[in-house]
Symmetry: D3
Subunit: 238 residues, 6 copies
């Protein structure tokens, strides 16, 4: 039995609130249960040095966690003077995931910067971040189209992510903090709206896992991401 009483294949309540802040071209508050991440997409009419004059754009992501987003306060990375390995790993993952569904050549010489800041953490912040960032980027690109700067959105598909894991022997979907702290295998899966895999990152926390377990986890993730994509589409219609 899951601590949250959810069924093994049940997502937490997911909410996607667009326009959460006013300055960013795309601004989404995404909630996976008690996990809340503010995802903004900012457009700049410039590209980093290594791409200048190459006729294409760039998309990158940064990730942060407010010091008291967590159960006990963690040190502020700006005060420590560096980002942890975990932070860098997550922001690289978010960037790669979104680049998989944006045609950078069609974007032209401009840069989209995604900022994912965790206001409250209860497990699954990186998967919520990817799911929310997809909607924020969509909004930012649609604004470029609305402003006449692009003829069509360079976004080629949706992208969403979810965590899965083996909790007390059972494969379960969308781990919250209590499950995450106490599970054997933990996997983050990123997929497109069309059902293609973008990232699969599975880690044995204690015992190694088998191909059979891997497949059960991927089945759960696939179904969960399907529902997340529907929620993204609903949010964009709403």
């Amino acid at each position: 039995m899951r601590p949250s009483q959810r069924k093994p294949d049940q997502l937490r309540p997911v909410r996607i609130t667009r326009g959460f802040t006013r300055h960013a071209e795309g601004s989404v508050l995404v909630e996976f249960g008690e996990t809340r991440v503010l995802c903004t997409a900012s457009v700049e009419e410039t590209v980093p040095g290594f791409l200048r004059g190459k006729g294409q754009g760039w998309l990158t992501a940064e990730y942060g966690m407010l010091p008291r987003a967590t159960h006990t306060r963690s040190a502020r990375e700006a005060a420590k003077g560096k980002q942890s390995g975990r932070t860098q790993e997550i922001q690289r993952l978010i960037g790669r995931s979104l680049r998989a569904v944006v045609d950078l050549t069609a974007l032209g010489e401009r840069q989209i910067t995604i900022d994912c800041d965790v206001l409250q953490a209860d497990g699954g912040t990186r998967t919520a971040a990817i799911t929310g960032a997809c909607v924020a980027v969509r909004d930012a690109l649609d604004k470029l189209v609305a402003d006449g700067k692009l003829a069509a959105s360079p976004m080629t598909d949706f992208v969403a992510a979810v965590s899965v894991g083996i909790y007390k022997g059972t494969p379960v979907l969308d781990l919250d903090y209590d499950e995450d702290s106490d599970c054997d295998t933990d996997m983050n899966v990123v997929m497109t709206g069309a059902g293609g895999l973008i990232e699969v990152q599975g880690t044995a926390e204690g015992a190694a896992f088998s191909r059979t377990e891997l497949n059960a986890l991927l089945d759960l993730a696939e179904a969960g991401i399907g529902r997340l994509t529907e929620l993204q589409q609903a949010a964009l219609r709403g």
Copy 2:
């Protein structure tokens, strides 16, 4: 005429939402118009090295701004690897202001850390932060009392802050971004609920200012802080 159509002595709509996030002992979202700051107060049962064994507690503050809280994206301080002079100045001010109304000896050997993170900026983030942090710290200290760790709250008074400035020749209260960018003199005032001054920081942005102008600004600030203290009290009752 003010860009926002407000009267010279009129505050922006102020909202103080307690319990905005769930993990912190005190968690307040404070809004001064479009400026929104999340203020959390975290209690730790330890003190910094320089106070160990001295029989008193400590209160400190950190301040941050989400990269896209502003009109154009500003670089993430954690990524740059250091906090700007402005950030340090503000977090020192918040810490001093709150220490003025907390009896650190009565607090005992524990530390309160205030985190003020700006979700959206439209001028006056530091004064909103102080005003919100006061309520967050009250909640955190009341929790220590409720948990039986302290017999009475070590908070001795309220503290609130507001900005004032001379905009197009007229002294006005609670500057928003449009006014702030275009005013001659800018002053931040911090006062206790009892009406005592804690901090006065006035800066001539262009022309120098006179004692008469200084007095007019202080009159405005005094009245404004009086209203903010009422709003703090109402929020704590609510």
Copy 3:
């Protein structure tokens, strides 16, 4: 056809040289074709602060690349003053992979630090590093047993790793630099000697990948890691 003329399921020539340097308790030069990584395991009779007095040991890993291990010189991280996100990601992966096969409680209050330094890079440095580090850690732990500090080695299994990817439409094993720069999907797989999965990290570089492709890649990896484990055992006998 692979640039190296290898068959899709063919590893590069692998060499594992023990005792490559003299000071470290375990010191292994591992070569996957032209990729050469020096892996040392150092034993210290202390544990990091967060584990002190907990009756268990720790194992951690650091990774570096000599500036001219690569085709063009890359900046020295010590001179830049920070490790890249890629470096941190890799050293976290190496640490997790080795911890999966070491019983930290049986290790006692001591720390094993693995250093993987790439002398020459031609793709697959992280998988070579894990494969070599396993042998270096074995040697270091056997030395503790030989020195009478431990009754038995706390190592519970072998661990090895290999990369797989889809190169020009075909799933192939053990990518070299030419393939790595030009493949659609790239996956690193870490497995125990007993065939359990420790880490699966698959990334779509261009197009998304399907469950069928994922399975083909895992089949290749499983076979490749089996052969690597045999080579590790041979090296330890040799």
Copy 4:
């Protein structure tokens, strides 16, 4: 009674020595009693990036304290690898104060950098720094005129600063270290030669202060700055 036997409205002996070092375009040793600060003004024929091509100049300030300027040695900021919040606050204040009396457009595309380094500290280092820097900047600008690079000095007025505070219940002028460590309210005031206010920074160290006390302190500061301006003028004539 003040520890130094001074009357409440009495400055410490002030000395302003021009040409203290030889390389800088302006170089002034300023002494407020035992507080000694070396202020240099350096002219560079360039502006920072954000001003390039805008047809105006820039003036900025840096502040430092020699490690043993103080009663006990404090760590060298260059060795710690960062400037403290206090240092940054002070150097921002010095820069703003001097920019208030320099016409940056008349300066043309060049930069004045002020360096204020405290050789010996006994309270009031930032106010001494501003007072000395004014003379150093005057000298540097006069040199630009003498060299034919400017037709007239872009300096529009004098600027000087002094601290005031409430020491054992009495408002006093120009606090030394003994008073500063033991006073209730501490205020730094910066004014032009014409008597306009540039900065007012008052802080309650213990109890809050009243409008009446604030006014008494400003009266003291106004008189003190008047005398400092005379001393600056005398030094420039001398």
Copy 5:
């Protein structure tokens, strides 16, 4: 008697292996007994900013020590975020030594970067590094000639280095770690193939040393460097 049984004027066995790694234009493994340093010379068709457009090239050096090159593991400089004073001192010495025998104007607007990375340390790493770097730079410059980018090598002479010291009262050549840890005076000498002095760095570790002792040490160094130059020439022929 020396711990290694060597005669006072006897070098350790020296080996110079060219082409040790494949990507660098010059790549040499130099061994002075158990001290092993990998020296690479990288050519870049650019110069640092301060030399742009000046019609000359540049040569610079970086030095590092693998964490477990030493008896006990030392912290990784990239992880600590800065290079030690010792590291910087050594890399500045290597750079100066090599610049003494390269005609930077004849090199043209390109930069040679030498990387000296110590794989195993047993005393004398900096002198081995200079000796090996000379061969690596020769190879890199010869490659520029072979590729038709230069008409003749801009190298004007050989350069080699050795340490000497007073060990238990006797001047000895080429100190190993055991001697280095226990000697009174330690000196590093760098000379050209023609016998000119480039650097002399002598340090009293305990008692001061006399002019007579200095001369005895220089005699030893001169003879030793003569033999090292022959070994460099042999390696280049080989």
Copy 6:
């Protein structure tokens, strides 16, 4: 002919002013012509971690240059966030030189920190710093004796330093900036009052130098340091 009209073996006018600042246990302004360095010696009743409980003291040195001590302004190291290789090299040299004449065991478990800050630079700042620091350390140690904390000063001798070089073919003593910028060989020599060598650091700036030239330089240095030791003694008597 030297730019300063000095004879080859002539020092610049040297002045040693004790008690230049008031807080440090030893405080000396040393002037070698236009080079002016403030040297303070601070006593702390503690030792660094690696010496705790070993029954001996420590002496260390730090060096800095005010940004406008030089002809053109150089960046402040505290603002850049790190000390240059040159700074570290110099402060290591100063520390080693002074440790050579202080009996650290007789000092007991306390630390002397020397701070050498260059107020004005005209060549030879490191040799002036060593010469001045010797007097500051003497004063600080004598104060420990006067305060009854030590029975006798742990200083075993004087130490002084001077630069020598080959300027336009002639060996000269005590190079100023003009000579230093334009000389072929540059050497810093540190000696005890008894005439023993502590450090010899000679560098060929252009052409290599011979043993004969080295000897001529050492002769000059020996005579110069003899005179500096007399000046140190006179200052201590004065």
